[in-house]
């Protein structure tokens, strides 16, 4: 059931998928060719992934709002909860796709493109999760029409804000590496785990909001 719903989102953006995946592959390469700094690996990936996923997610949301098809879906045995779960799953799958594309490109093109370690992948995931964990419930609560500008604005700001924040942290030598009394493996996985937890909480909240909505 869930799979069909996730498939639905892919079907809806069929036309844009290829385009976005080319972007996901090409953008990092482009940025790397301009920037010669090391250590920007995960920033580039995060930005690219966020932009890619946002575009596709926004297209789907716009369509759902325009055609009101979720109403018909809710008259079928599909539960409202599975519709929400599928949405989150869709975003997760897109993220994984972006990661695979990035990794393939990084392996194929022996430039200074950095591969992501588990912890940097985790932090990327965490950042993406943070963004969507806030945007999705807000969109369901207040409607697509009202919130589309806000989500667009944030996406627009991120490419500028993120590097600035990183530079700020670097110049002030703020070390974010908190050493916790756990084995290294766990510490590396921590961002992933936190991301998953945040994602699940957001999902619960959205399911709650959606279950009370009149369609």
């Amino acid at each position: 059931m869930l799979i069909s719903l996730v498939k639905k989102d892919f079907i809806l953006v069929k036309k844009y998928l290829i385009l976005m995946f080319i972007f996901a592959a090409g953008a990092p390469v482009f940025i790397y060719s301009k920037v010669n700094q090391g250590g920007v690996g995960f920033i580039v990936f995060t930005l690219t992934a966020l932009l890619t996923i946002y575009s596709l997610f926004n297209s789907v949301t716009a369509m759902e709002y325009k055609y009101k098809a979720p109403a018909l879906l809710c008259t079928t045995p599909y539960t409202r909860n599975s519709i929400i779960k599928a949405k989150y799953l869709f975003i997760l799958m897109l993220f994984v796709c972006c990661f695979i594309i990035y990794t393939i490109v990084a392996v194929l093109i022996p430039t200074s493109m950095q591969l992501l370690s588990i912890s940097t992948f985790g932090i990327s995931l965490l950042l993406a999760t943070l963004y969507f964990s806030i945007i999705i419930p807000v969109q369901y609560k207040f409607g697509y029409e009202k919130t589309k500008y806000i989500s667009f604005l944030i996406i627009f700001i991120i490419p500028f804000a993120l590097p600035t924040i990183i530079k700020f942290l670097q110049t002030h030598n703020i070390n974010l590496k908190i050493t916790l009394p756990f084995p290294q493996i766990i510490q590396n996985l921590l961002p992933c785990i936190i991301a998953v937890i945040i994602g699940l909480i957001s999902m619960r909240v959205t399911m709650n909001i959606y279950s009370k909505k009149d369609l």
Binding site: S4, Y67, L72, L73, T75, T76, P77, T79, L215
Partner: protein, 283 residues
């Protein structure tokens, strides 16, 4: 005769409108027409039954069992056709089907293909290219291709030309040929119901006004035409609705015998469903 669906005490309050303690039953093996003017509460009632609108009070039973806990199972038995289709327009029929079909455990691909053929639709047609009539037929194809027992439709014929409407009614009659099937559809185009309805439920201003067999309604009411001179304080009360011109009057009555007795020489005809509906709705 069993009731396939029972609605009890359905209540929903909006700012400008409310459903007020709506209760009715749908008999199995019948086509029940849900009639009322625009804004009377037909769509709200149907959406409440389907869980699209969250009701403030009331319960719904399918085959005697409350659907509150078994909603998925309930919806598996339903075929739904909503006005405006609610389809994604940028995809094809085949793709839309691939989204809807997996929801139903009893989906029958063979039946679906047969229905597409019957309705002269092609799998690879984009939904945005379909005319309103074709869209409705597609919606029905989806609704009747998983062995649904109860077809619920909200204004399926609005905006369609008489030929397509007639085809749609024939499709419904065809659907009913199998045992145990029922249809519930709302419409303000009463001429369609004249043709196929077995039962009629009239709703006005959020409340049920009457529930009756169609022919019983047509038998017990009369459409009266006659001379204005026959109208007086007493005879006026016999009519649910009266329309007077300088050439005479026409009106709807549910007291045919009395009218015949007290008003000499009037013409009493069998009313249409529209006559009856207009007789009962209050402005």
């Amino acid at each position: 005769m069993n009731n396939i669906l029972e609605v009890n005490g359905l209540t929903k309050k909006f700012d400008t409108f409310s459903l007020d303690n709506v209760s009715f039953s749908l008999r199995e093996g019948c086509i029940t027409g849900f009639i009322g003017i625009n804004g009377s509460g037909k769509t709200t009632t149907i959406k409440s039954i389907l869980g699209l609108i969250l009701k403030d009070a009331g319960n719904i039973k399918f085959r005697g069992k409350e659907i509150e806990r078994t909603e998925r199972e309930f919806k598996n038995h339903l075929g739904i056709v909503l006005d405006e289709g609610y389809f994604y327009e940028n995809i094809t029929i085949k793709e839309m089907k691939s989204i809807i079909a997996p929801a139903y455990s009893t989906w029958d691909e063979t039946v679906f293909k047969k229905n597409l053929e019957r309705f002269r639709l092609q799998s690879n047609q984009k939904i945005s290219t379909l005319s309103k009539g074709m869209r409705m037929k597609f919606a029905i194809a989806l609704a009747i291709s998983h062995h649904a027992d109860l077809l619920i439709m909200d204004e399926p014929t609005s905006g369609l030309d008489p030929l397509v409407r007639s085809e749609l009614m024939d499709i419904l009659l065809e659907f009913m040929k199998e045992d145990g099937k029922s249809v519930f559809f709302s419409s303000h185009i009463t001429s369609d119901l004249d043709k196929v309805a077995d039962m009629l439920i009239l709703i006005d201003k959020g409340a049920i006004v009457l529930t009756e067999e169609k022919e019983v309604l047509l038998d017990t009411h009369g459409f009266v035409k006659g001379d204005n001179k026959l109208l007086n304080e007493h005879t006026r009360k016999l009519f649910l609705k009266l329309h007077e011109t300088k050439y005479g009057f026409e009106g709807v009555t549910d007291k045919k015998a009395v009218v015949r007795q007290q008003m000499n020489g009037v013409l009493i005809e069998r009313p249409t469903i529209e006559n009856i509906m207009l007789g009962y709705v209050r402005r």
